[in-house]
């Protein structure tokens, strides 16, 4: 058991490629933290620096209270599960799982006991005498997990451990991982590019990006906070499926308040409580963001003040494609300058297409971003 503290860490490969820069993450004892971001943003690099597989170019990493910058991987009291599992092909499952314990001079009897206990928990008891190539992908994944568990390390490191499994197995294994963590309560750092995996697994998630030419941390928070209050446009667009609708436009002032206006038909009146923080942006470019679930059908006869309402705006869209999902439908529509806005609405069999439809936009879930790919969130 140990907390992990990553301070101002940067990695420069071979004196040239700056892979990540200024990573700061404090991971509490027993916490499950997920590093998530698109491919190439430096998640693995960061994880491998914690593991000791890559030298730390700048900054410090502490595991527990110990500075580990110059500590060999084997002395960091960690266990790692690799994307390709990295099972030793020439050893049986039993040998694979016990290898680390044997190297630590544990008596054979105790090794067997631990390996068998872990195998029992993971349901791979029957496979102990097999070689990895005689196992299915899911079974190999369990062996890799078992090899980490038997060591009883103070930190688990996972690098995309589920990405080689098929979709269904990925979801069930995800749940098992979460249960495992609840039982063992071992500090865990988990790397994935899958935002759904990150949201479901993490106590907190660390969203990273590579967009500025170097891997960077964009936001560190609980999944719900990151989802509801994304710090910038990148984070907003990365988390959530279908992704958040983001439309570029301008901030305009009229006598009754501030409006987002894309000048092609999408006009949204911002809530008055944000007036002070937005007023300096009037006349400048901004982008509006709202999740598919922030919209609902505009009920017939709903009272509509001529100048919009405080907490709900009416927007006009032209639905083009309907995707039924059971309880809900995903409606792809054109809306102002945006050619593809997705609205997730309550299911209705006769939802009209190719004609103008009014939707209600819940202002509590509307974001306004400064211009640019990484434009900051101006109101949340």
């Amino acid at each position: 058991m140990a907390h992990v503290s990553i301070k101002s860490v940067a990695k420069v490969y071979e004196g040239k490629v700056r892979a990540v820069d200024d990573v700061n993450v404090e991971i509490a004892d027993g916490e499950f933290v997920v590093l998530v971001g698109p491919s190439g943003c430096g998640k693995s690099t960061t994880l491998r620096m914690v593991a000791g597989l890559e030298a730390i170019t700048e900054g410090t990493i502490h595991i527990g209270d110990r500075l580990v910058n110059d500590v060999h991987p084997k002395d960091r009291d960690i266990a790692m599960v690799f994307q390709n599992y990295a099972l030793y092909p020439h050893m049986t499952v039993r040998k694979n799982m016990g290898f680390g314990l044997a190297l630590r001079k544990m008596p054979k009897q105790e090794i067997d006991q631990r390996v068998e206990e872990a195998a029992r928990q993971l349901g791979i008891t029957d496979m102990l005498e097999r070689k990895p190539k005689q196992l299915s992908g899911g079974q190999r994944q369990r062996v890799a997990l078992g090899r980490a568990i038997v060591r009883e390390p103070s930190v688990f490191l996972f690098d995309e451990p589920l990405s080689n499994l098929d979709a269904k197995l990925r979801v069930t294994t995800r749940t098992e991982l979460k249960k495992l963590h609840q039982r063992l309560k071992t500090t865990t750092i988990y790397v994935t590019h899958d935002q759904e995996e990150a949201m479901t697994l993490g106590d907190r998630i660390v969203v990273m990006s590579a967009g500025r030419g170097v891997g960077k941390v964009e936001q560190v928070d609980t999944p719900l906070n990151v989802y509801r209050h994304p710090k910038n446009r990148f984070v907003a667009g990365f988390l959530g499926l279908p992704p958040m609708n983001i439309v570029d436009g301008k901030l305009a002032e009229s006598d009754n308040g501030l409006w987002f206006d894309d000048e092609q038909g999408l006009r949204v009146r911002m809530e008055d409580r944000y007036r002070d923080q937005l007023i300096s942006r009037v006349g400048g470019p901004v982008a509006i963001g709202f999740r598919p679930s922030a919209m609902s059908e505009w009920g017939e006869g709903t009272y509509l003040p001529p100048d919009g309402v405080q907490n709900a705006n009416r927007i006009t869209v032209v639905p083009r494609v309907i995707e039924p999902l059971g309880d809900s439908i995903d409606v792809s529509c054109e809306c102002g300058s945006a050619k593809n806005i997705v609205a997730r609405l309550a299911a209705r069999a006769d939802f009209p297409t190719n004609q103008e439809v009014h939707l209600s936009l819940d202002m509590a879930h509307v974001h306004l971003f400064a211009p640019g790919e990484f434009g900051e969130n101006l109101i949340h």
């Binding site: 597989l53 060999h72 991987p73 790692m80 030793y88 290898f99 680390g100 190297l103």
Partner: protein, 306 residues
Amino acid sequence: MTKPASIQPVAGAPFTPGRKPKKAAPDTSPIEASSKLSRTLVFVGLVLLGMTFVVPFVWQVLIALTENPSEVDTLTRTGMPPAIEPGNFAKVFQRVDFAKYFFNSLFIASWATILQVITCSMAAYAFSRIQWPGRDKVFLLYLGTLMVPGVVLMVPNFAIVLGLGMFNDYTGLIIPAAFSAYGTFLLRQFMLTIPSSLDEAASIDGAGHWRIFSQIILPLARPGLIVLAIFAFLFNYNSFFWPLILTKDDNLRTLPLGLLQFDSTYGPETNLIMAASLMAMLPPIILFIVLQKYLVKGIQLGAVKG
């Protein structure tokens, strides 16, 4: 000697889960007759090719069984051995110190092989699995020595060995053969196909370089080690020129040098040469038969379902 290319995908295969061996499509061609014909042609071609390997061997056996060197002529003309004489094999041992040559060849080739596999695998590990500054440049330099023709190196090598006091000594025959740029290259290429996550997992598990080398990399590189062992053994076992210039005493001579003796005093005794070389062929053949099991196993690894 382009073995590495054929080994690479084999070593890589076991680590790619889900890769299925491609099965040849069943032959359901409508033009069955013509495919039968072409298959017959291929078969005939293979038989002819096989003959070119077998005939000289049979010839060699026949000559080895011929009693009198002068009768080899008759054999050449008629194709029939005049008199079968299995005693030639014993005669080889009486005429020269064949047992000693045999021992020398085996002794030198075995040591050279063992040492070469050890040094090459360690060098290959350093060139493929450890990051150090200038690594790939040093490797290229080492590989570059392969481009220099052997004859060019003969004299300087001789001078060095002489200077080290290894002339006319087993050490002079073994030590220079204990290192090989080619073998290092072969094993390095092989080791590059082993995923680095295995070393990383092992080092997190608590292994240092020595243990990763001996318990992870070496077992996985076994097919490569065996190929190198066979090459190294054959090369040193057959080596002629280096032992020739480096030995003075008869009791240091190796088999290829020993065979020369039947070609000197009384004119060429072809039947004895053939008998001796037949016996000399045995160790490489036995070696190959013993090791090919592992060789084939290694190559088959790729065929087993990922």
